[in-house]
């Protein structure tokens, strides 16, 4: 049997296979997809709006240079993060109809961008920790002395930083695994 005949025999077997009896409601799938994206976007927007509104209310209630600086930092960080989420979700769909070579290239660049984002996030966590903990310690130890608030404030900062670092570590591990898979694919 020559190679063409061999492929023809395999093709015959292959095409004779009846599809599994999966029930796909097209409208349901589309609606679910739309709903999932809308909910995800709405959740991000809601989080951003609540954070912005809360910080705005807080700073107007306590109109001092210190709180204005804090509110500005929160506003800038929230706006940048929200813009990134929207940009990233738009890009996810924009690449699927490219050829595999183009798709692999983009997937790799996206993984590398995510790793950069993780590095940036780790630095941001470290910097905010280095600012927030001494500031809270100074605030509750000298300005408005309160052991309870001091422990609560510093404890919250420590727990939040640890949670962020663990999340970044897990995210990084996933992205590195993805990059390894991509390398294995292109190395063949």
């Amino acid at each position: 049997m020559n190679q063409d005949q061999e492929l023809a025999v395999w093709r015959q077997d292959w095409l004779a296979e009846e599809p599994a009896a999966g029930r796909y409601q097209i409208r349901g799938i589309v609606e679910r997809g739309r709903r999932r994206m809308r909910i995800s976007m709405a959740a991000h927007l809601l989080f951003a709006v609540v954070l912005l509104a809360f910080s705005a209310w807080w700073v107007f209630e306590r109109w001092t240079a210190e709180w204005i600086v804090w509110a500005s930092v929160i506003w800038i960080a929230t706006l940048v993060q929200t813009a990134f989420v929207f940009w990233n979700s738009a890009g996810t769909w924009a690449t699927l109809d490219q050829s595999t070579a183009g798709f692999v290239d983009l997937a790799r660049r996206r993984c590398q961008a995510a790793l950069r984002q993780i590095r940036y996030g780790r630095w941001l966590t470290a910097v905010s920790f280095a600012i927030v903990v001494p500031w809270l310690t100074w605030d509750f130890a000298f300005r408005y002395p309160s052991t309870e608030r001091l422990l609560l404030g510093d404890g919250t900062a420590c727990v939040l930083s640890a949670v962020y670092l663990i999340a970044f570590a897990l995210w990084r591990r996933r992205k590195i695994r993805e990059l390894n898979e991509l390398d294995r694919f292109t190395d063949l």
């Binding site: 395999w10 292959w14 050829s99």
Partner: protein, 167 residues
């Protein structure tokens, strides 16, 4: 416009569903996960359809989206061993029980062997089995036709070896 798209999508769904089912079965062996992958593929086609401008054939477009979605599924999922036991037996109502069993077994062996191929080879052999021309495969994969020929040849040799092991 939206109505036109929905009509086009429904036609694509009806026309390519068996091929997409076969395709997802070669990238995911667990039935529940395969159904999820199939839904992801259908959703990805729906999302990509408004950008389809006819710069390639519809078939090429559908297979591009589907393969990219499958590859991304494989890269992202947790590592686990692929086992033949996970593949479902698909009854064929057209043949008698004995012949049906033999044919089912042969198809299952072929599917399991394809599943064991490296992704690069799996992709070209799947497209060739779906009867895409070398030019169409090149357009899906994003390589030259010569490169498709080389990969297909290697994939065929690898598949033959795997099938011989099963016999």
């Amino acid at each position: 416009m939206a109505g036109e798209l929905e009509t086009q999508y429904e036609r694509i769904f009806a026309e390519y569903r068996p091929a997409l089912e076969r395709l997802s079965g070669c990238y995911e062996s667990v039935p529940q996960a395969r159904e999820d992958l199939m839904q992801d593929i259908l959703l990805a086609i729906w999302k990509a359809l408004p950008r389809f401008r006819g710069d390639c054939s519809e078939r090429t477009f559908v297979f591009r989206v589907a393969h990219n979605r499958c590859l991304s599924h494989v890269w992202r999922r947790r590592k686990r061993a692929e086992t033949a036991a996970e593949a479902p037996e698909v009854p064929d109502p057209r043949a008698g029980p004995e012949r049906q069993a033999i044919e089912n077994r042969r198809r299952q062996v072929l599917r399991d062997a394809i599943r064991q191929l490296p992704l690069n080879y799996r992709q070209v052999i799947l497209l060739a089995l779906e009867d895409l021309s070398p030019a169409e495969i090149a357009s899906v994969v994003g390589v030259t036709e010569n490169n498709v020929g080389v990969r297909l040849n290697r994939a065929r040799n690898a598949l033959r070896c795997l099938l011989e092991k099963h016999v």
